[in-house]
Structure formats: structure tokens, C-alpha cells
Amino acid sequence: MRGRTRWPSRLWALSTGRFGVIVVAIVGLTALVARFWTPFDPQRVDIANRWASPSWGHLLGTDGSGRDILSLLMAGARTTVWVALGAGIVATLIGLALAALGALTARGVRESVAVLVDILIAFPVLLIAMMISAVWGGSLWVVILSVGIGFGVNVARVTRPELRRVLHSDFVVAARASGLTPWQNLWRHLLPNVAPVFIVQLSWGMAVAVLAEAGLSYLGFGAPVTEPSWGMLLRDLQAYISVHPGSVVWPGLTITLTVLGLNLLGDGLREATDPTLSRRDRDAAPPLPEVVA
């Protein structure tokens, strides 16, 4: 097809997008593999092998109880994927619902929703999570719900004005003039046009979920001790940073790369799905004559 490439190939053509796809795919696959196999049992204590340096047996070395760091990271990926996906889904539902209520309803309703969103946004996500887990105890659900709600509100705040803008654009009126019902208009014209803003916010929200999980686990509010997590591993290892500075790098690097990957993936998706941003497209499509004779 001349003059048009599909968005997955455009995403892959962007170096940032490719990086994001690869990182997210690796984390996802690792989580899947860790469900069935890790080089060692991540909780197996081996006192004889404490603080082992990276070797063929333990690729990333071991920690203070002789647990294999690679296995711990792999098992922790499961927690991370679970939290990122869960928080992403919760944030999508809450964000879209609030944005739609705040943009498409009667004036009184939508302005109250906007005020509500502004109030909710004043509470930092981590604070909410700590409050909830202080009352009901730490669990992954607390992390998922608090980050999901916190970021859903953020998504709503950014998506709502965008939705209003698109709602008043000529092509939406034109689509109504073609006989589309409001519901058809929402799915075909409104949501696809706010998707770029939404995707960037959502990928950022999922990245924050990864960070929040790590942060909360680090502070002891997140995953229970039996659940391996990158944040907890980071906390365990950094206590010995002056003695064994090498090992703490691994969870730190893993968290950083994952967050970066998610952000770049979101950015790449936005660029790849917007036909007006595609330079390639414009080059491929030579100008046509104004009319046929």
C-alpha cells in the first residue's frame, strides 16, 4: 500500500519505540518464564555461598543469605508485571470514566467532576498507598489500587480538556451531521483522537506503578515478605552497599531500565499512531494533481 504504513512497523522504526518494545517484552517474558522456572529457588538460603561474586553458577552473584540474585530479579518481575498491568487497567477505567463524565455530561455535572478531580489530585499516590496499607496491611492489591486510582485521576485531568477540545471540533459536528449517534461518535471519533494523550499518560502511570511498588516495598508497605519484589531486593542489598556495592546495582538498574522502557514505549506509540507525525508517510505520498480533467 503506497503512502501508508501500519503503526506497529512505524513503532519499530523509531529507535526509542524499539527500545521500549524490547524492554517491555523482556520484562514480560521473564515474568512468564519465572512462573515456571528460575535458575535457583529464589527463596533458597545458602549460607555457604553468601555474597558470591557473579560467576557461571550465579550469573549476578548472591545476596547476604546466599540467595541467587538473578532468580530473585526474575521472580520479582512477576510482581512488577502484575502491579503495572493491574494499575494500568484500574487507571484506564477510572481515568476514562472521570474524563467522560467531566467532558460529555450536562454542565453542572461535568464541572463538579472537574473540581473533584482537582481535589483528588492533591493527594500524592504514595501517601494514599501508605495510608491504606497502614490500615489494612501491605499487599499487592493496595499498591495496584492506590496507584491505579491516583493515576486514573491524573489521566482524567489531562484527558478531560482534550476530550472537550475534540468534542467541539468541526469534524465531530460533521460526523453528527452524517448521522452518527453520540455513542458511535465517542468510539469512532472522540476516543481515537484523545488516544495519543491518553497513551502517554497511561504508560507514564504504569512506569510510576513500577516505581511505587518498588518504593512501597522498599519502605515495607508493599508486597509481603514472601513475595519477591525488586524494591524489597533493593532495600535488602543497599543495607550492605558499603561492603558489597556491586550487587545493589542489579535491582537498581532493572527498575530504571523498566521505567525508561515503559516511558519510551508510550512516547513511541503516540508518535507511531499519529498519521500527521509520520515523516515517512509524507515522503512516500507525492502530491496529487488538484482535480482530474
Binding site: 503506497r2 503512502g3 501508508r4 469534524f171 452524517s178 469512532r188 483522537n193 499512531t273 508517510d281 482530474v292
Partner: protein, 262 residues
């Protein structure tokens, strides 16, 4: 298939922007609504389709084939829009969805009103693109709006409005945003499409010269009121009101074609 507007009143926030407008468009007639900006001509057109902006209310009577449109539910109106009554807007740069191919946008009303499957609707879209004389229709339906020129986009908008062969076309300043040479082409296209289908036409403009190319009758509006109406030839040769005389002075000289294209 006639449109009758009786004592139409449109209010926005308590202000009367259309104040008792009445006119009729018999089957196959080509009627111009003409006036300066702010005279209420666009709102009159939007009221016919029930597309008034938030906060605007319409009273009076708009009858389409004897059926009252004011007070009709949005759902019922949606069935008429695009199917029996089509509309083309002024600004072709913003009237198309930037992230959908033009083919899908032309096919949209066909899929809705005639419930054709996607593939059949796309084939129709190609035919419709050819009908508005877009170049290379097979290819152009796969393009996005930003890859088309202003005149081509207006042709797409016309194809969208006419895809289901409505009985009435409302054209809201469809040529105002275009170059003068493109204006003439679009006018000629509209004229031939309207003539082919025997459609009725309501053509909104502020330029009497443009109107002289396409309409047989005209309704002159000022501040939401009808100041003069009648056969276009009459208005051009013996304008009764000062508004019409002013419009006559301000018309675009190069677009005069009294008596129409045919």
C-alpha cells in the same frame, strides 16, 4: 420533499440570534441564505439538522416533508442526518477527522444508514470519491486528510454529505475558505451534483456573486431577521433593501455569473 421554516427563533443565553425567520425550499429548488456574518444564517442551517451548539435553543417550526423537526429526539434526527439531509461546512481543514483515512470517512454514513459491510462501503467510497472528481480515487481513499489540499478536502466533505444521496443539501459557505480559482471549481461541482440528483439546495454565503452561480432564489438576512426574499434575478437587478444593495457592492467581482452556470 420540501423544507418549510416558519417563525424560527434561536436563542443563545437569552439573546435572540435568529428572530422569526421563515422561508420555504420546494422540491428541487436552490435557495440561498445570504447576509453578513452574525446575521444568523449558519444557525438557521444548524437548527434544521438539530446541530445547534450547547446552550442554544430553537423554537418555531421546521417541517421536512410535513414532519416537524423541532422537538424531534436526537436519535430520530440522526436517522435523517446524512441520509435525507446532508451538510457541507465552511472550513475543510478542520471538517475531517485527522486520524482516519478519507475513504473511511466517506464510507461512514453509508455504513450507518445503509448498513453495508465494510468492504462494500469502501467500494462505494471509491465511487463517491470519483463522483466528486477527486484524482486517483482508488489511492486517495487511503490517504489521511493532511495529505490533501484544501480543495480536495472540500471535495471529500461533499462526498461525505452526498454519499447516501440526500434529498436536501445544506452548504454552509463551502467555498469561503478556498482560493478564488478553487471556489469556482467547487461551485461548478456542487451545481452539477445538485442538478444530477435533482436535490434541493440551501446555499449559505455572504457573497451575492457566489450565489448568482448556483441559486435561483435568495433570502436576505440581517440581525436574525429576513429583510428581503424572492427570485435571485429580482434581487440582483432591483434590490429593495439597503442590506441587499450593500451585499451587491461587496460581491467578489470575478465570481459573477448571473443566470447560473447552466
Amino acid at each position: 420533499m420540501s423544507l418549510e421554516v416558519q417563525d424560527l427563533v434561536v436563542e443563545i443565553g437569552g439573546r435572540r440570534v435568529v428572530d422569526g425567520v421563515s422561508f420555504a425550499v420546494p422540491d428541487g429548488a436552490r435557495v440561498g441564505l445570504i447576509g453578513e456574518s452574525g446575521s444568523g444564517k449558519s444557525l438557521t442551517a444548524l437548527a434544521v439538522l438539530g446541530l445547534l451548539p450547547d446552550g442554544a435553543t430553537a423554537q418555531g417550526s421546521i417541517r421536512w416533508n410535513g414532519r416537524e423537526l423541532i422537538g424531534l429526539s436526537d436519535r430520530k434526527l440522526a436517522e435523517l442526518r446524512g441520509d435525507e439531509i446532508g451538510i457541507v461546512f465552511q472550513e475543510p481543514r478542520t471538517a475531517l477527522n485527522p486520524i482516519r483515512t478519507v475513504g473511511r470517512q466517506i464510507a461512514e454514513s453509508i455504513r450507518i444508514h445503509q448498513r453495508l459491510p465494510r468492504r462494500a462501503a469502501m467500494e462505494r467510497a471509491v465511487a463517491e470519491a470519483a463522483r466528486v472528481r477527486l484524482p486517483d480515487p482508488e489511492q486517495i481513499v487511503r490517504r489521511y486528510p493532511h495529505q490533501l489540499s484544501g480543495g480536495q478536502r472540500q471535495r471529500v466533505a461533499i462526498a461525505m454529505a452526498l454519499a447516501c444521496r440526500p434529498r436536501l443539501l445544506i452548504a454552509d459557505e463551502p467555498t469561503t475558505a478556498l482560493d478564488v480559482t478553487i471556489q469556482a471549481e467547487i461551485l461548478e461541482l456542487l451545481h452539477s451534483l445538485v442538478a444530477d440528483d435533482g436535490m434541493s439546495l440551501v446555499f449559505i454565503t455572504h457573497d451575492l456573486a457566489v450565489l448568482s452561480q448556483i441559486a435561483t432564489d435568495a433570502v436576505v438576512l440581517e440581525d436574525g431577521r429576513v429583510v428581503e426574499h424572492g427570485a435571485l434575478a429580482q434581487l440582483l437587478t432591483a434590490p429593495a433593501s439597503p442590506v441587499t444593495q450593500g451585499l451587491l457592492r461587496d460581491a467578489t467581482a470575478t465570481l459573477w455569473r448571473p443566470g447560473g452556470i447552466s
